[in-house]
């Protein structure tokens, strides 16, 4: 065994080499790198505003039971006389319905907060689970190679040959309605993107000298894959992950809109819009406009943050 290896091995990655030798500066700590990343991120005001918006939306949605005037799940709290109130009207409950009420007298603002919570939970869980699954599949394919690689990537291709919306549609139809079922359907529909991206990036990295060097040391394969390969594959994956969370939220809304997602008794943004769509030819446009605006803001904000993260992580944009 070579004891020195344990000191040098983690500097084999290209970042380590440039940091230690080329610039003459000491190796950056994780905190310093994070601070540098944050500094670069803040260069785009749009992205910072988007991040603030996302945090605000997350606070009002996860705090929905405390900030919203009404519990839309509680059928007893609903008053039929309050149906179709215009935005800004004071209802039987004695408080103002800022965004109006729907056909059963549900306060739209409360319904939107709760709906947003459902959308966030679904989008984030689906994104994280799909990321984990995709990394496992992509990395094992790229690192092991050979027959396993062909088989796994064939399956991924097979999946990618079906568009996510169709796959999710069929899966939800098969699994039935419910939050868990939708998350499962979205994971199955989306993991292939992560697997493809991981595989693509890992195949490129695999051929580089630092991986060759790491492999020539007596390090276990697990360490080479997770300490050396994964960090260099991660940047494109982070970008894909933000985009996929946004698209999972949009997909869920689309499924609910098409009538196969969540029922209206469990409001998600999609089912709210779907309900409002029934009244599109009347002047009750607030029923579909407001949930849609929240959906749009959420999805666009996540995408804008993802865009800036991509920009910062792109090595060609680094000073």
């Amino acid at each position: 065994m070579m004891p020195d290896v344990s000191i040098d091995r983690d500097r084999l990655s290209p970042d380590g080499v440039t940091a230690a030798t080329a610039s003459g500066a000491p190796v950056q700590t994780r905190a310093a790198r994070l601070r540098a990343f944050w500094g670069d991120f803040c260069r785009a005001p749009v992205a910072v505003v988007s991040l603030v918006v996302i945090i605000l939306l997350a606070v009002v949605s996860f705090g929905a039971p405390w900030v919203s005037p009404q519990d839309p799940y509680d059928m007893a709290a609903l008053d039929w006389l309050d149906a179709f109130l215009k935005p800004g009207t004071v209802g039987a409950g004695g408080y103002t319905h800022w965004l109006g009420t729907d056909n059963v007298g549900r306060d739209m603002l409360s319904a939107i907060f709760y709906g947003l919570r459902t959308s966030f939970v679904i989008g984030i869980s689906a994104g994280v689970l799909a990321l984990a699954l995709g990394i496992c599949v992509g990395l094992s394919a790229a690192y092991v190679g050979g027959r396993l690689e062909s088989l796994l990537m064939r399956i991924v291709d097979l999946q990618l040959s079906m568009p996510a919306i169709l796959l999710a549609l069929v899966l939800v139809a098969m699994l039935g309605q419910g939050v868990g079922q939708i998350i499962l359907a979205l994971v199955v529909a989306q993991y292939a993107y992560f697997a493809r991206t991981t595989h693509g990036a890992a195949t490129v990295e695999r051929g580089k000298d630092y991986i060759e060097a790491a492999r020539s040391t007596p390090l276990p394969a697990r360490r080479v894959v997770f300490r050396h390969l994964l960090p260099n594959v991660l940047p494109p994956l982070i970008v894909v992950a933000t985009v996929q969370v946004a698209s999972a939220i949009a997909l869920e809304a689309t499924l609910s809109f098409l009538g196969v997602g969540l029922p209206l008794t469990e409001p998600s943004l999609g089912s709210l819009i779907s309900n409002g769509f029934k009244y599109i030819h009347t002047d009750r446009t607030w029923l579909s406009i407001y949930p849609g605006v929240f959906l749009m803001i959420t999805v666009v904000a996540i995408n804008l943050v993802g865009d800036q993260v991509r920009h910062v992580l792109d090595p060609r944009n680094q000073r």
């Binding site: 690689e149 062909s150 990537m153 064939r154 291709d157 097979l158 990618l160 040959s161 079906m162 568009p163 919306i165 169709l166 549609l169 069929v170 899966l171 139809a173 098969m174 946004a246 698209s247 949009a250 809304a253 689309t254 809109f257 098409l258 009538g259 196969v260 819009i273 769509f277 599109i280 030819h281 446009t285 579909s288 406009i289 849609g292 959906l295 749009m296 999805v299 666009v300 996540i302 995408n303 804008l304 865009d307 060609r316």
Partner: protein, 324 residues
């Protein structure tokens, strides 16, 4: 090249078979269509008779084999809801979807690629920023909601465009199409724009990214040093080099445009196959679902195959490496 072609073709056939089994088993798992079809008060005998008539009492593998042998004879089954052969049903709806996809792809590439080239050529300009902002919108805002806004704006408020349907059909090369009449165009334009936005956003981003990257390369510097104008550099050097990812994504996205037509068709009540599949999922019309999904799989496999072959043609490294 021939060896590569044969290898990819064999893989494609295997994929179609595997997917047909998955689709068949998957669709089989969705509820019992008999419960939806007949009135709950029907006697046990009528129920049993119907189940036997559709072959639902057989074990799954036997149903699959029956399905396969029927397919081999060109029979994809009979719709349980419309009671006409599924093949006829799907083909009667297909032209509507195809013309919608055709118009939207035309809009997406016709606007997307030039806009992307410009945004990549002058990345700092206000025009480029506006284009990128629009592409983020087109890319991320859900299709169905934009569709709804379009209906609200142009059909309900302004009343200039119809909110749904196909309009008057003219005839072009013996095929009934909306694109042959003015009324048809007024019906197709809104759903087509709606369907094209996602793809347009993608085209803009892809072209721009390729363009920005290419403008930094040595060959562009050398071409400049050689005294070529920017126009020559962009159109004869850069465009060719960034065309590979654009062609790939274009091909792959052609299929997903067809799939996204499901959403657009539902919003605009466009009588195409997308609306048909949603209706048949909601009504558990199994034969229609299986046929549609198998057709989609075949379509996607064909698109993948074509893209791979074009790739191999454009980039010799791909075919030297083999099919891995």
């Amino acid at each position: 090249m021939l060896g590569y072609f044969v290898q990819r073709l064999a893989q494609a056939v295997v994929v179609v078979f595997a997917m047909s089994i998955i689709v068949f088993v998957g669709v089989y798992a969705i509820g019992n269509p008999i419960d939806v079809l007949i009135d709950p008060g029907a006697t046990q005998e009528i129920r049993a008779k119907l189940i036997a008539q559709y072959g639902l009492d057989q074990p799954l593998w036997r149903q699959y084999l029956t399905f396969l042998s029927n397919v081999a004879q060109g029979d994809m089954g009979t719709s349980m809801v419309y009671n006409i052969p599924v093949v006829d049903l799907v083909f009667s709806r297909l032209p509507a979807t195809l013309e919608l996809v055709f118009v939207s792809v035309l809009i997406a590439t016709g606007i997307g690629i030039p806009a992307g080239l410009y945004a990549g050529y002058r990345p700092g300009s206000y025009g480029a920023k506006a284009i990128m902002a629009l592409s983020v919108l087109g890319f991320s805002v859900p299709t169905f909601w934009i569709g709804m806004l379009l209906i609200m704006a142009f059909a309900v408020n302004l009343g200039v465009l119809p909110s749904g349907g196909r309009g008057d059909l003219g005839s072009f090369l013996g095929m009934p199409t909306s694109l042959a009449t003015l009324d048809g165009w007024s019906h197709v334009i809104m759903p087509a724009v709606n369907l094209s936005l996602f793809k347009m956003g993608l085209m803009i981003r892809l072209t721009r990214a390729g363009m920005v990257e290419a403008m930094r390369t040595d060959y562009v510097k050398f071409a400049r040093a050689q005294g070529l104008t920017d126009r020559q550099i962009v159109f004869s050097h850069v465009l060719r080099n960034i065309s590979i990812p654009i062609v790939t994504v274009f091909g792959l996205e052609l299929g997903s445009t067809l799939a996204f037509a499901v959403v657009t068709e539902s919003v605009f009540t466009w009588p195409g196959v997308g609306k048909l599949i949603i209706d048949s999922i909601l009504q558990l019309d199994r034969p229609v679902m299986v046929t549609y999904l198998v057709m989609v799989v075949i379509l996607f496999v064909l698109i993948n195959l074509t893209v791979d072959l074009i790739y191999a043609r454009l980039d010799p490294r791909v075919r030297l490496k083999g099919g891995a």
